[in-house]
């Protein structure tokens, strides 16, 4: 093969990475999975702050009845951009990014299977977001049709401005980035594992990333096709989703939710993975029922593909369709419940150390169960008809995405920050952050359940002075500002810890997965020598040669990745 004309140079030399060159170019041109992962995290933090500011403006507007602070047009743009940003540019890329950083380390690989595609995914994500936010500076303003952009509202006759076009284009671009990232993860996890790291010994986080990546591979094309059709409608006058010209607005809903519901699990499965890593380490016990946690993930992934129409109960699909979708949706509670049981059983009887990551993981279980229970409630059609498009729904999905995914994300940041940077985060500031978040979050969103049942509709820029509405909204707004304060503490904690945090050492939490077997931060080449893997907790086996997890396992040391 030596005389072969290389299309792409083989990566025989070390890839450019941390430490080689600290200039900006070493980041922009990097194809090192750790640098790309960190860029993902920084990118999502920036979008998180922007999305948070939008939320604050929304809550300020709603603090009192009849408020005139924001115009209705501005309000529509803000809630659209808030939802779109938080889902597509914060939670999803954070989880992808943390996966990009950790998956190769956890499976003992040198890098992702396709480092250049990895960089491409990141830049598509970053520029997709820029494209979306550029719309604020155009004459037409930002998209203002909600994060699911129902047709025909998002179509030309009803939205003459270019907002929805920017929305579809930005998400199309970043979606292709996510798709590529999903493909890359699947191939990496299936082919790049170190000898001995069998599929049944994969860390649970990697399992969840695998299922998530499969979901990305199979559902992103659904929304990509829908974006393409919407763009053709808007730019070339096609008539897919315009009922006036023979199209079908329902078709958009089917396509959007056909993607949108699995997307919910894309947002939460890696979060499950983070929690499944954190809880055992801080309970000093191996995870209870590894097989069930991993298997139920596969079940969730498969079930999630067939339940989208529960977002459309109020559309008029007919009682039969509603009944079947209601049934199928409730089934998802089973594998999810199995997971909760496993986490709790892992903590049961363990020596629990409530450091900040564990605090967030514990709170995650509680908040997510609240969101899950309200989810089972609205999977029942009559309840959904009463509360759909009210603040009850807003409360529900904030409990799953904020109380679920974001709490797990915070747990993950505190847990892996020492690995990413070599320094510990401050525990004191972390505890402040945690308690402010818990108080602020529940204050903001719990009360919205009641507001929803009392009939307050979502997505309206103001409301009449109905009994209690004003005071309840004010409580919610105060909660939102407490969350804002907690985020300030969090960012301050990051800055302080980066500069003066205690040195972490290789394995500050005494964890058992492979990423802790290398230095913090890991060198460009990840591992000098990947420890032998002969069980699910390689570092435990290494530290306790007398009582390994799998005493009969043989050690495999040689192989292409060794």
């Amino acid at each position: 093969m030596s005389s072969r004309i290389p299309i792409v140079p083989e990566s025989t030399e070390p890839l450019p990475g941390l430490g080689e060159n600290t200039g900006l170019l070493s980041w922009v041109a990097s194809i090192d999975h750790k640098q790309i992962g960190i860029m993902y995290l920084i990118g999502t933090l920036i979008y998180f702050v922007i999305g948070g500011l939008e939320a604050l403006m929304i809550r300020t507007q709603l603090a009192k009845p009849g408020s005139e602070l924001l115009s209705p047009e501005m309000y529509n743009q803000l809630f659209t951009m808030h939802g779109t940003t938080m889902i597509f540019f914060v939670v999803m890329p954070f989880l992808i990014g943390v996966g990009v950083y950790l998956v190769p380390l956890m499976i003992g690989a040198r890098d992702m299977a396709f480092p250049r595609l990895n960089a491409l995914s990141f830049w598509l994500f970053a520029f997709g977001g820029v494209l979306l936010y550029y719309s604020f500076f155009t004459q037409s303003g930002a998209p203002d049709v909600g994060w699911f952009a129902y047709a025909p509202l998002s179509e030309k006759p009803f939205s003459l401005n270019n907002g929805p076009t920017y929305w579809a284009l930005g998400l199309l671009v970043s979606g292709i980035g996510s798709l590529i990232s999903g493909l890359n993860n699947v191939v990496t996890i299936l082919t790049m594992r170190t000898p001995g790291m069998t599929m049944r010994r994969l860390p649970l986080f990697v399992w969840m990333m695998l299922v998530t990546s499969f979901l990305l591979v199979f559902v992103i094309p659904i929304i990509t096709s829908a974006f393409v059709m919407l763009l053709l409608d808007r730019l070339l006058g096609a008539t897919f989703f315009t009922p006036a010209f023979g199209g079908s607005a329902i078709l958009w809903q089917h396509f959007f939710w056909g993607f949108g519901h699995p997307e919910v699990y894309i947002l939460v499965l890696p979060a499950f993975g983070i929690v499944s890593e954190v809880i055992p380490v801080f309970s000093r016990k191996p995870i209870y029922g590894y097989e069930f946690v991993a298997g139920s993930t596969v079940a969730i992934g498969l079930l999630s593909l067939g339940v989208w129409a529960h977002h459309m109960f109020a559309v008029g699909l007919g009682n039969v369709a509603n009944a079947y979708f209601s049934l199928a949706s409730m089934l998802i509670a089973i594998p999810t419940g199995i997971k909760v049981l496993n986490w709790v059983s892992t903590m049961w009887g363990g020596r629990i150390n409530f450091a900040v990551p564990m605090l967030f993981a514990t709170a995650f279980i509680i908040e997510f169960v609240v969101g899950g229970l309200s989810g089972v409630a609205i999977a029942s059609v009559p309840i959904d008809w009463v509360v759909t498009d009210s603040y009850f729904i807003v409360a529900h999905f904030h409990y799953t995405i904020f109380g679920g995914s974001l709490f797990a994300i915070f747990a993950g940041v505190y847990y892996w920050f020492p690995k990413f940077t070599g320094r510990m985060m401050s525990e004191t500031l972390g505890k402040w952050h945690f308690w402010l978040t818990v108080v602020g979050f529940n204050m903001t969103f719990f009360i919205q359940h009641f507001l929803g049942v009392m009939g307050m509709p979502r997505r309206t820029y103001t409301y009449h002075d109905m009994p209690y509405w004003g005071s309840m909204n004010l409580i919610s707004t105060i909660g939102a500002f407490i969350i804002a304060l907690s985020v300030l503490v969090f960012i301050w904690n990051i800055i302080v810890s980066l500069r003066k945090g205690e040195p972490a050492g290789d394995n500050p939490w005494k964890a058992w997965t492979l990423e802790w077997a290398t230095t913090s931060p890991p060198p460009v080449y990840n591992f000098k020598l990947v420890p032998p893997v002969r069980g699910r907790r390689p570092l435990w086996d290494l530290a306790h040669p007398d009582s390994p997890d799998e005493p009969d396992a043989k050690i495999v040391t040689e192989g292409p990745n060794g």
Binding site: A113, L179, L183, N184, V217, I222, T239, F240, F245
Partner: protein, 183 residues
């Protein structure tokens, strides 16, 4: 490397879903055209059928190209890659001819739902054929420059997998658009 072939397989799986959605959109609107052109009133299944044969034949030639690579037959590889490109280009020519014929009769993507779904579906398929042609041309260029001595090459295998996929999609698209309307 097994990586590349696995990647292209998952990529094809993902692309299949994309085409599946476009096809579902076509199927969804198949019976709902009330005014304006329909598949039956505007398409010519015979001419398109003949051009389709060129695309199907190209799947065969790309397979022969792979076989030549395996036998380290450089001239065979060049010949069959070239033949594949020509056959694919003839198909694209046929599609362009069909499109311009329709434009000439005032049938465009904005005519009605048939126009929207038809041009989107065949357009994306044609786009994939064009991408395939570019990749095949790159392969041919590299072969002429002395690459691909065989017996194995991920690049050739992946491109030919992709090409078979594009072919397979056309069989489904042709059945759904043309056969369904005229049988």
């Amino acid at each position: 490397m097994a990586n590349n072939r696995m990647m292209i397989k998952f990529f094809i799986a993902s692309e299949s879903i994309f085409f599946l959605m476009l096809i579902l959109a076509y199927v969804n609107f198949h019976n709902s055209v009330t005014t304006g052109p329909t598949a039956k009133s505007s398409l010519d299944p015979y001419v398109t059928g003949i051009f389709s044969l060129f695309l199907l034949a190209s799947s065969f030639t790309v397979w022969l190209a792979g076989k030549s690579l395996k036998n380290r037959n450089r001239s065979g590889l060049k010949l069959w890659l070239f033949a594949t490109i020509v056959l694919g280009a003839v198909f694209i020519f046929g599609q362009a001819r069909e499109w311009f014929g329709l434009f000439g009769r005032g049938i465009t993507i904005s005519s009605n739902v048939f126009g929207s779904t038809f041009f989107t579906l065949t357009g994306f398929h044609g786009f994939h054929v064009c991408v395939g042609l570019v990749m095949l041309s790159v392969l041919l260029g590299l072969t002429l420059a002395g690459d691909f001595k065989g017996p194995k090459s991920d690049a050739v295998e992946c491109v030919s997998l992709y090409w078979h996929f594009v072919d397979g999609v056309w069989i489904v698209v042709f059945s759904v658009i043309y056969l369904w309307a005229f049988l």
